[in-house]
């Protein structure tokens, strides 16, 4: 169970894992996620389902190694198994047909965007994907995206590829009110917030896929709560996608920082133990 079938380094610190998951493979839809525990003593962390294969009975995830648990995950090799894997979780991304759709993502969000952009395209929309990376060498899944959308443009922070700047600046440079009728954004919170601000008066329905801290992912703890409009929602069951123009991104930022010092302590703690274990 949960065996890793393939592993591929996509960019520095970004790794693709293909994992055996016959049931999840059958039932997932774009926008849904899973929760994993790489090892028996790991935290539970959510990851987006990026792709699947019926033939190989597998799903694919793309992981940015930023802290203790993501590092544990990408240290596993083909043949190893994830200790726990549960899903598919959350609701599917909102779909439309015959619309002009913009899909925006930054960083590892580009991988998370892929299945949604592909689904919009397959549902008969005209899809423009705007993707951001720190630098040329950090661009991921370029070919897969190109094959799945009508138009793909990159923005890099240092200008080494495509537009010089971030995704929202790129968006503003090529679109305005009325250009798109539907949009999806996924990535770092400041980027999602900026995208929401930029498009507030564009008549664009923008869906943001949020990434609050989660534990169970089944609606049981309320740790993933976010404020959308005047309502409190549990992102793991009501989301992870919400109306970007109604999300309280500042609150999300604060809540995601809640454990920052502890996460760093946890990472250091591993390093010490790791020395004699490995």
């Amino acid at each position: 169970m949960n065996r890793i079938l393939a592993k591929r380094q996509l960019a520095p610190e970004v790794t693709l894992l293909e994992v055996e998951a016959p049931r999840i493979q059958r039932r997932w839809k774009p926008g849904m996620f899973i929760i994993i525990r790489p090892l028996a003593n790991s935290e539970r962390i959510p990851l987006t389902i990026v792709d699947s294969s019926a033939e190989r009975q597998s799903i694919t995830m793309v992981i940015q190694a930023i802290g203790k648990t993501t590092k544990e995950a990408v240290a596993l090799e083909p043949g190893d198994a994830l200790c726990d894997l549960v899903g598919p979780l959350g609701e599917a991304a909102t779909m439309t047909t015959d619309q002009k759709v913009v899909c925006m993502a930054g960083g590892v969000g580009v991988a998370e965007l892929l299945p949604v952009a592909k689904a919009f395209h397959e549902a008969g929309n005209h899809v423009t994907a705007l993707c951001g990376a720190r630098s040329d060498s950090y661009r991921i899944l370029d070919e897969e995206l190109k094959a799945s959308v009508d138009e793909l443009q990159w923005a890099t922070d240092d200008g080494t590829f495509g537009f010089h700047g971030n995704v929202v600046q790129l968006l503003k440079s090529l679109a305005g009110p009325g250009t798109f009728s539907e949009g999806h954004v996924i990535g770092p919170i400041p980027m999602m917030k900026a995208a929401a601000e930029a498009t507030r008066d564009w008549g664009l329905k923008l869906h943001a896929s949020l990434n609050p801290v989660m534990i169970d992912g089944t609606g049981m703890c309320g740790g993933c709560r976010v404020t959308v409009g005047s309502e409190v929602k549990f992102a793991c069951v009501d989301g992870p996608e919400f109306d970007a123009h109604l999300v309280d991104f500042d609150e999300l930022t604060r809540r995601n920082r809640a454990y920052r010092e502890m996460e760093q302590e946890s990472l250091r703690h591993v390093c010490r133990v790791g020395l004699d274990v490995r």
Binding site: I215, G219, R257
Partner: protein, 477 residues
């Protein structure tokens, strides 16, 4: 069966034995179990307090009808193993129930001895029998035959499903329990702290089920990983839904999304399931500051309060009614008090305030007075205007109750529910044929032993349906 003459003379006048507990100061700094269990001498005295009534009211009052009279007689004779066997006829969970059952509401409430003296300490005797049988359970591990009958799926691994598994596997059904989380036990695993229910006890009693042939699949959410319909397609002939009441109510006051504000479920899940009390040896953290406020008066509130105390915080429980209305087990309230948890009755939070980084730092409270009785018959709290006051705080835990977990219901719209609770008939059957439900998902937040009562009832009904017992009756008419 010939009635064996008693080997001893009952002595109900002897004082009810007091369960030895760990010293309160030690408790405040460890996660060790608080109640230590009777000594053999205490067991002898306590068991002999039982009158061995001709009409034992206690047995009727126990929702799963443990033969209390008979197991107590065995304990009085020093036949501890035999006592455990008697309990096992009805219950897979003597170690669990002996610790967490609200016996003051059930068996002990009606014990005849209580007419003149204090009731027999049935719960603690049950616990003793269980603790004595632990070694023997391991010996028995491989002596069970493999079940070969029809397949039954049980959803959720709380006490309701697990007693159903016990009853069904003993009737030769092939039983699979599907659990959403990565650990088994439901609230017993993620909600109840190990200082009340050591995890070895829970694991061993679940291992017995495993040894009897019950299959367990963790990380499996029915309604997500597979639907109910798919389970039937895969050959399960009946399903029991014991998914519990896991959806926490929010307080609905300003500031409840500040950092440091938890639902009891999140707080307890972090600590019990993810073992945050061992952080950083365990990787999941929890924020427990110098001052903690717990809102609520049930078992969750006591558990959260006592954990916060153990993690070094100064703890106050805010409850909008009075001490007499607290809904937690009496023993836990007393233990919390001994451990230095403070209680502020007739008070409720109205708003939370944070600092510039969004961390909670003050709670505004209002005082209450008791007004007219409400639907529950309890006098309902009424806010006293102008009594608002602020208290400094670093951690707030809202323990104000839970609603049924909605995931399965959402994926199964044909299942009839009422305010989120699954509706069942007197046999525990839902609006879908061969789909049964019980425990907290039917009752709303309830107790372990009532969840077990429901699981037993449903197992009986499932057996009737699948073995054709019910059908035969129809033919005979």
């Amino acid at each position: 069966m010939a009635v064996q003459p008693l080997q001893y003379k009952p002595n109900p006048k002897a004082p009810r034995q007091i369960l030895p507990v760990l010293n309160a100061e030690v408790r405040a700094v460890t996660s060790q179990e608080v109640a230590l269990g009777f000594t053999p001498e205490q067991v002898r005295v306590e068991a002999q307090r039982c009158l061995q009534c001709a009409k034992p009211t206690c047995i009727d009052a126990c929702p799963i009808h443990i033969d209390i009279k008979r197991f107590i007689a065995r304990l009085a004779e020093g036949e501890y193993q035999a006592a455990h066997d008697v309990i096992s006829e009805q219950s897979p969970f003597p170690g669990v129930c002996g610790r967490v059952c609200q016996h003051e509401l059930f068996c002990e409430d009606v014990c005849i001895v209580a007419k003149k003296w204090e009731p027999v300490a049935i719960g603690s005797l049950e616990r003793f029998a269980a603790d004595h049988a632990r070694l023997r359970m391991q010996e028995l591990a491989h002596s069970y035959p493999k079940p070969t009958g029809k397949k039954v799926a049980l959803v959720g691994s709380g006490p309701a499903s697990l007693i159903a598994a016990y009853d069904l596997v003993r009737n030769n059904y092939r039983v699979t329990v599907f659990e959403a989380l990565h650990k088994l036990g439901g609230v017993l695993a993620y909600g109840i702290p190990n200082f009340r229910l050591p995890r070895e006890i829970l694991h061993e009693e679940i291992a017995r089920l495993q040894n009897m042939g019950v299959e367990f699949e963790v990380d499996f959410i029915v309604g997500k990983t597979a639907t109910l319909e798919e389970l039937f397609e895969e050959g399960f002939e009946a399903v029991f839904i014991g998914t519990g009441a896991g959806l926490p109510y929010m307080m609905g006051i300003p500031g409840e999304n500040l950092v440091g504000v938890y639902t009891a479920n999140e707080f307890l899940t972090r600590i019990n399931l993810m073992e945050a009390f061992r952080f950083p040896d365990a990787p999941t953290p929890v924020r427990v500051g110098a001052h903690t406020i717990i809102v609520g008066g049930g078992n969750s509130a006591m558990d959260a309060a006592r954990w916060a105390k153990r993690m070094g915080s100064d703890v106050t429980v805010l409850y909008r009614r009075g001490r007499a209305e607290l809904k937690a087990r009496l023993e836990e309230i007393e233990h919390a008090e001994e451990e230095g948890v403070r209680f502020e009755f007739l008070a409720a939070p109205v708003a939370l305030f944070g600092d510039e980084n969004g961390y909670v730092k003050e709670v505004e409270c209002i005082r209450m007075e008791l007004g007219e009785p409400d639907e529950s018959g309890r006098r309902s709290p009424v806010p006293i205007a102008g009594s608002e006051h602020r208290i400094p705080v670093d951690t707030v835990v809202a323990a104000i109750g839970q609603a049924p977990n909605p995931t399965l219901q959402k994926a199964t719209p044909q299942l009839i529910t009422k305010r989120g609770k699954i509706v069942v008939d007197t046999k525990g059957e839902t609006s879908m044929p061969h789909v049964f439900a019980g425990g907290d998902v039917v009752r709303g937040g309830s107790t372990v032993i009532l969840a077990m009562k429901d699981g037993r009832l449903a197992a009986q009904a499932i057996h009737e349906v699948l073995s054709g017992v019910a059908a035969e009756v129809e033919v005979a008419q």
